[in-house]
Structures are given as C-alpha cells and as structure tokens.
Symmetry: C2
Subunit: 571 residues, 2 copies
C-alpha cells in the first residue's frame, strides 16, 4: 500500500509521543588492544578476572534493562486505547467505506445518542485535572465542544491516560478526525450550545506549522480591546496587514467564513433575480486591443509582440451584446483599475456585477430593474443568511441595514438642496450648487440626512447633471443640462453608477467632440453602434463594496478573498 510518499507513516495508528527509547543493548566490553602480546601474567589474569566480572555485571545490567524494557512494553501493551488515537497517514484511506461524516450544521435533537465521525479543526483545548480535557472543534462558522474522559479498563470504548496525553498535545488548528457520541449539554463557549460530543477516538489528519496568530484573536470584536482598559484582561490585536499577509489563517475565523458565504449569496441572488427577468449571462474579454475609456488609468499587458489593456469595465462589451440583439445581459467578472488610490474603498481588482438592457420606452425601466435586483439581494440576505449575518455582527456590530419597500428615488437637485439646507459646502467652503459634483464627504452627509428623514440606508439619486457624467450618457430630453443617469447609495457610499447610453453614432460623435475627445481615437466604440443598437442602459455594482456596506465592515479588503491594491499582489 505504500506509495512513493516519503513522509507517510504506517496506516496502523500509533502514539505520536513515544517514550524515550531504552538503550537497546549493553555497550560491548572494552579491551586494551594496545598491550604487548605475551603469556598471561598474574596481573594480567587478575585484570582478566576483573574484566570478566565487569562483563558479567554488564550482562546482568543489560538483562535487567531488557527486563525493564519488556515490562515497560507490557505495560504499554496494556493501553487498550492504542487503536483509538494517533496520526493518520498522508493517504488517509486506501479504500472507501463511504462512512457518513457529520457536518456540525446538521446537528439536531435526533442526533443525541448517535455515534458520529467528523473531521474538524482543533479550535482550542482546556485540560481539567488529570482525567478530563475539553476540546473545541471548529467547522467553518460553527464550534462544538468535545469531552475526553479517561475511562475504566473494562469500558468498551477505552480512553487511556496515554490517549488523553496524546490529545492534550495536539496543536490548535490541527485537522483531526473524531469519533464519538453526541450528548445533550449546555455549552456557553461554543456556537453549538445544546450538544457536545463524548470523544471515543481522535486522530490527527493534517498537522500544522507555526501559526501567525490564533483564530480566536483574529475574530475579536473591538469591544474586547475596550475591556482591556477597565478589566484585567489582555488580548492580542491582529492588524489588517498581518491578516492579509496571512490570509489563509485569517479566512478561518467564523466571521470570514460567514462574510464569504454572504459574498457568494450576493452573486447568487443577483443572478437568480435577473434570470427570472429574461437576462442571459455573458463573459466578455478582459484583454482589450485599446483602452476602453480614454482618460482613466488602465493596466497595460505585454501581448506577444504588441500591447493589450485590461478592461476597466465590461461596458463596451455589454453594449455590443445589446447591439448584437441579446436584449438583456449580465456579467459577473473581474474589473481592473490602475488607480493609485490607497483608501478603505478602492482596490485595483474587484468583482463587477454588471447588467445592460434594451429600453422599450423609458430609462427608468433600467433603474427599476437595478432597484428590484438590489432589493432581491437585501431581502434574500436577511431571509436566508441570518446565521451568517449574526456571526459577522459578533465581530463587526452595526446598525441594521435599513431599506424601504418602495425605494426612495431622489432627483440629484433635491439631494443637493437637502445638503445645502443642512449647511454642506464645497471644497472651497462655499455653499454647493445644483450642478456641482458631489464630494465623497457630502455623499456620506447626504446618506445621514436621508437616513434621518426617510429611515433608509439605501436610495437612488437620479438625473445627474450632464456635465459631470461620461460623454456616452444620454441627456435628459426635457432639460439639456441634466442626464438620464443615476447613482445608487448604501450607507452614504455609492455602490452603483449607471445611465441610459447614447445609441446613435452621429450623436455620440457630437458628444465626444463636446467632451474634447477625438472620435477617431474611439472608432471601435463608435463601430458598435453603426449596425444599429436599440436604446439601452445599464449599471454595475462592485461586489465587495456591496458586501462591505451591507455588513459595515469598514474596509473593502475585508470583503475580498485575496485583495489587490497598489501595494498588495500577494497572497
């Protein structure tokens, strides 16, 4: 059965902590090989007798030691629990017995009394005297208490002192395979508080090296550190850079296990809603022959003997899909921004959830689709992911995310007016005007004003001034200074920007010129519309930003599995 696996141990479980081996044999008697050859003298005979005596004693000692060893081994053989613990080989099973392994999430009242097997991380351990140890096992967001008690010799499922010692020496984070019986219990220190497992077997499946920090420390809420000021407690704080440098360790916290389940759910809810509305999913190329939007910063790629650019958004591709008659499309994919922004909400690569659709009558069809999609996400998360949200709130407590049954759609002008009335000013300290761009600070301020007035953390700003939107934005037919465009906000931060796009190539050229763009530099974009595209609009959300704001994580990197920013490309 042994393969080429050098560090594989024998399949038969054996205690990892072996006793110090007894000397295997008495040292050979030493002789003075350097003496001159002659008949044995008296002295020599005496010496020989002495040596014979020495050898005899040595032999006796060896025999004694041999006996001691035998006795020790016999005593060891008395460890009838030997087969119940130890280290598993690298190839843990050469065969499949199809044994069902418990997922903690499946535990319920019916589990009580059942014999179960499960694999889990050893989360922590509390020995209690010489005969009992409490071990906490972890599976993703859940922890279960295990109890190991030294049993009498006659117990069918023996737990020996040796087994207890073995268990207490297992480092935390080791992956263990456990067999035991589920019992009713009251456990405050675990997420599973009604049950515990009486351990009958415990094997180490995968060992771990030095840990950069503990999962417990990585999962501490800020309130723990505040306690240090008033109580006699001491906690290690794990900084964000340390977490990100050791992201694998950090990801094991129940908080992160829950965050990325929420992230996965957002994508699922996004697609499920749009699928129900007749959208199809597309995959557009990230390698572009030309920079898609002039002015913005794009990553350059060496492409054989030429240069390519990484797409900063799938917008052109989505629009081409509409010109290609797909009517309603969405895409979930990476988006690249070569901006040297080192803030809590910028990354150089993030996941875009984008959609584009043909308009039948009015661009509000798009706005309403985007709104319904976001409401489906918020509701879906609240309904189906309350356990995850609750888990995350333990580390990141925050006010409940508020949204209305009917979303507030605020004209941009009204938003500006609310800000002005509340005393908001522009960067020069002057009162803001209706046609100004809205600063990030004023966005947040408006978020607070809206929350106060309308009791919602989610709303839409509609009808942005034309001048502050990209050239391809369709103007408002009834006011040439405004545009058919909108931004969506969560907790005072923009999560979605979108608009009706200009679908007429001649008008696009006119708008390009007005924006100071030479149309010949964007012929690829223009070509897309020369074959006729229906009126259309769309928008895109940043997945990580939505997750960050819904859960109020404070930094977008916490919502990204392996975040990328100007200073971070690893792990």
């Amino acid at each position: 059965m042994s393969g080429p696996v050098s560090n594989e141990v024998q399949a038969t479980p054996a205690p990892a902590q072996t006793e110090t081996p007894a000397p295997t044999a008495a040292p050979a008697a030493e002789g003075d090989a350097g003496a001159a050859p002659a008949g044995p003298s008296k002295n020599e005979l005496k010496k020989r007798a002495k040596e014979a005596d020495k050898a005899k004693k040595a032999a006796e000692r060896a025999a004694r030691e041999e006996e001691e060893k035998r006795q020790r081994e016999a005593k060891e053989a008395e460890d009838h629990a030997k087969q119940n613990y130890g280290k598993l080989p690298l190839h843990q099973s050469q065969e499949r017995n199809g044994q069902i392994r418990l997922k903690f999430a499946d535990l319920n009242e019916k589990s009580v009394g059942q014999r179960v097997t499960f694999r889990a991380r050893l989360h922590n351990m509390r020995p209690q005297g010489a005969k009992i140890v409490f071990l906490t096992f972890r599976q993703q967001t859940l922890t279960l208490q295990g109890v190991l008690v030294v049993s009498g010799d006659k117990d069918e499922h023996q737990v020996s002192k040796q087994m207890l010692k073995y268990a207490t020496l297992i480092p935390t984070e080791t992956i263990v395979l456990v067999e035991g019986v589920i019992k009713s219990a009251e456990v405050k220190s675990c997420t599973i508080q009604n049950f515990e497992v009486g351990i009958q077997k415990i094997f180490t499946a995968v060992e771990v090296g030095d840990l950069p920090f503990s999962v417990d420390d990585a999962a501490r809420p800020e309130s723990d550190f505040l306690r240090m000021e008033t109580e006699d407690v001491q906690f290690a704080r794990v900084s964000l850079p340390t977490r990100l440098d050791n992201r694998i360790m950090d990801l094991r916290t129940p908080t992160n296990q829950a965050i990325f389940r929420v992230q996965s759910a957002v994508c699922n809810l996004f697609r499920t809603y749009l699928d129900s509305q007749g959208f199809i999913e597309i995959h557009s190329p990230k390698l572009q022959g030309a920079a898609t939007e002039s002015g913005a910063s794009v990553f350059k790629v060496s492409y054989f003997n030429g240069t390519a650019f990484l797409a900063q958004s799938p917008q052109l591709a989505k629009q081409m899909a509409i010109a290609g008659d797909f009517e309603k499309v969405y895409e979930i994919g990476p988006v690249f921004r070569a901006e040297d922004s080192n803030t809590h909400r910028h990354m150089t690569e993030f996941t875009g959830l984008d959609l584009e659709m043909a308009i039948e009558e009015h661009y509000h069809e798009v706005l309403e689709t985007l709104d319904s999609m976001l409401l489906a996400i918020f509701k879906g998360l609240k309904e189906k992911f309350s356990h995850e949200i609750e888990t995350i709130r333990k580390q990141f407590p925050c006010e409940e995310f508020l949204f209305l049954e009917k979303t507030l759609v605020l004209p941009f002008k009204e938003g500006m007016q609310m800000l002005r009335e509340a005393g908001a000013t522009d960067s020069e300290g002057k009162p803001i005007g209706d046609m100004d761009d809205m600063s990030t600070e004023n966005e947040k301020f408006l978020g607070r004003l809206v929350r106060e007035k309308y009791k919602t953390d989610y709303f839409i700003l509609d009808k942005f001034p034309l001048a502050i939107r990209p050239f391809y934005t369709m103007p408002d037919p009834s006011d040439p200074t405004l545009s058919n465009s909108y931004d969506f906000f969560m907790r005072g931060e923009e999560i979605l920007s979108g608009a009706q796009r200009i679908h007429d190539p001649a008008f696009l050229v006119e708008r390009m010129k007005a924006a100071g763009i030479d149309p010949t530099t964007m012929s690829g974009y223009l070509d897309a519309f020369k074959l006729g595209a229906p009126p259309h609009g769309g928008g895109g959300i940043g997945l990580e930003r939505v997750v960050m704001l819904f859960l109020k994580l404070g930094n977008i990197r916490r919502a990204s599995l392996f975040p990328r920013d100007p200073k971070r490309l690893n792990p």
Copy 2:
C-alpha cells in the same frame, strides 16, 4: 421637450420619404443692372412691356404652382395613414404608458385576434404587387411574418399607398416598432409557422448603416453551399474572420443567439448543481505577484512601478480557499494563456469553470462530483434548451451527443491498450506504451473507439502516469508510477483535467525537487500548505470548449462572444 439632441426629429410621426419639394417661389426677375442710365427709349419701353408681360406670366405660373402645391398637400392630407408610419425620435418616448410589448416567444393560440405591439429587427421583405408586402421580423432566435396590405379609405386602421412605399424602403436590420393583429397562418419561411401579424402601424426606431453581410448569409449551413454545385443557386459565404471582424452583425444570427443562450445555461447548470452540493462561489484575483506555474507562458502586466502576472488558472487560489476552510469552492472566471497556439481549440483568454473540494476519504469523491456536475449540464441542456440546440443544428448539423447514465471511467492503461490494439502509434510510428503521454490525435482516435464500443461521447480517463502530470499531483498510494489524476473527454477532446493535489508541504518540496523545480521560487505556493490544508482535489472545464464540443461547432471561437487569440484583440 427637445433636449440637446441634434439629430432628434419631432415626436409627431412624419413620413421619412417626403415628396420632392415644390419650388417655393418664382425666381426673381433678372434685370440688366450693367446698362447706362438714360431716359426710357422706345426700345426700352418695348422691353419694359415685354418684361411686365414676363412678370405677369411668372406671377401666373407662381399662382398656378401654388395652387398645384395646395392641391398636392390637400391630396397628401388625404393620407389618413400618415400617423401610422414614420421615423421615431431618438428619445422614443418622453412618457411611459407601460404598454406591454410582445415577445415572439410568448405567441400562442390565445394570441390570435389580439392587437399587439412589438419591437423587432426587419429581417427581410418580399413586395408582392403594388398593394401588398410581406415583411419578416426577427427577435433573437425567432422570426415572424408580417403582412402589410393597402386598405380602403374607410378602414379604421388605414394602410395607404404612401405607407406601403415607406415600408418597402426600410432597410433590413432596421429596428422597427410594429402594431398589428395576430392571425392564424401557415408560414414556411419563418420559425413561427402558425401565426403572422397583420401590420397596422410601422415605425423605424433605429436606423442602420451599411451591413457587412446579411444575417441570412451568416446563418447558412454548409449544405446550402453544396447545393450550389447541383442547383442554380448562388449564396455568399461569410468567412470566420469576416464574422469575427463584424461580430455584432454575426451575433444576430439565430444560431449565435442560441449558442450564447446555451453558453449561459452551462454556467447556470454548473452552479445550480454545485450549490446543491454545498459549494460556495469564490472570486480569486487575476493579478498575481508571481507566475503561478513555472514553465508555462504567462502574460506580464505593468503594475505601477513593478510587474504583475495574469493568472493562468485559479488553482492556487482555490487551494488556498480550501486551506482557509471553505471545504468546497467553485469559480467562474477568465483564464489567461500566453501561448502562441493558433488552433481551432486554443484562445488566449477563456472562461474557466473551476472547482476544488476537500476529500473525506478518497479522491474519487472529486471525480464523481465533477462527473455528476457534467451530467447535470448535459441533461439540463437536453431538457430545457432543445429549441436552442435545434436552432444551432440547422447551421451546424451533427450527431447527437451521447452519454451514459453511469459514466465510463477508463483507467489510462486500458485506454492505451485499446489504442494499441487498434494500431495507434506514437509520433515516431512506434506502438504506444502504457506510460506515454497521449497525443491529441490519439485522444481523438480513442474517442472514436470508445464511441463504437461503449456508445458514449463522454468518458473519463483515470490514473494517469505520474511522470506526465504536474508536480503537485498526488501519486497513487498503491503504484508510485501512477497518480490520483484524471481527464474528462467529450467527442474525443479533453475538456477537463484534474487531480488530487499534494497537501503536505514537505512532500510538495520533495516532488518539486524531483521535477527539477527550485522550491524557493515557489515559496508562495508552499506557504499555502504550512498552516494545514485538508486532503483535496479539483478540476476545471473550459466553458467555450464544452459548448463547442457539445454542439460540435468545429472552432472554439464560435463559442466565445468576442474571442481572443494571438492575432485577435478586437472587437
């Protein structure tokens, strides 16, 4: 209501083809301003009388022309159908009346007699005499016949001669807005063969420029061109490069509309199956600090003052997610390969459908998950996308894709034996050995042998020789020359490659050294396992390859919305 939209026409519909305008006024009488100033001579008086006469005649002519114009306008005003056709403005609706617009897919027996409005492409047109024209309208994969008949003056929904003329001059591919009544009919030339629409109103919504080719030509099956050899017919063949250069036009064929619905469905079925198995979706960064797999060709990206690399697979990220305790993860995302391969099945960017999962007992848990996932895709496509598959088969006829209820899992050795027995040789013409790599040609040959023997186009080769797999592949515990790895095949082409990975860092170092890789160059990869990862395995399929092979499209570019290869970065 008019915005800054320069090319916008008035909202009131007006005929686009106006009659040649009548001269608006008589030309001013010409005088010889160069003559010397003097008292009027006889000649001069005669001349003046002549001129007065001329002026009078001119005035009479002007009056006559004015009257003719009036009469013409009066006659034109008699076109009571004026409001039933014309060109729509850029902003097609300033208001929303919420009118429901027909999707051809929703037509059924109950539609007969209903008055409907729809937007569609004008697919083609057949005038029949002076009073009737047949127009074919297209929505995605469906075409519907429309009939426009000049009606009597008293008809409530008048169709005038002018309206008919307007309609016959609409270029194909124009997006039109049509109102009419659904009637029962027998139509062979359209995909909707039971119904047609009696047109009452027709407006052009979006005009088109010159077309590179027609949708009909782009949708022709090979058999059409074969007919040219025996019949007196002539068809234009649209080459693949021409299609790809004008991809937007090409995408409008019913074939392509169907192909990308199938592509979308594959992703949906992939996720739906894995969601049901407790997987979560992840999004891993495509920007990497180091080349993930040494030796293979990776695209370099200028990253601020440094260099990044585009991920050639999400494998390391997936493995890190497993080390981070996510247990079962999948990802759908772009994969980049800087290989200068110009074949029917290589692209520089494609969509990877990847999964990775912890193994409880045996790596066949992974193989079986991958297999069940693919079966769910095949079955889902057959059950729910028969219309699309049928549509595609019209242009790309092929043998039905065969698969078994229980998938054939063939040990690599047996595959090699089948090939050997059938006379397959290696590149040097020698009989192939059990431990050889399998050439692309032999893969195809094996595909044919398997189809013949087992009646399946889909099977798994298991237990590849260790020597021909990457260093991180887990060896077979019972035979050190083999490995716990597998490839999946469709129609004789590999669509999935996967394996159990080595999760032990010390053993990974050993295998790296054996493969001639300096472990210090891959410390990032090794670090992922030092914190302890459970045994795990996975695999990935190329979305476009699966679509190409399931539908037998013959070239992977046909399964990619905007394909990228060493020579193509646009559109």
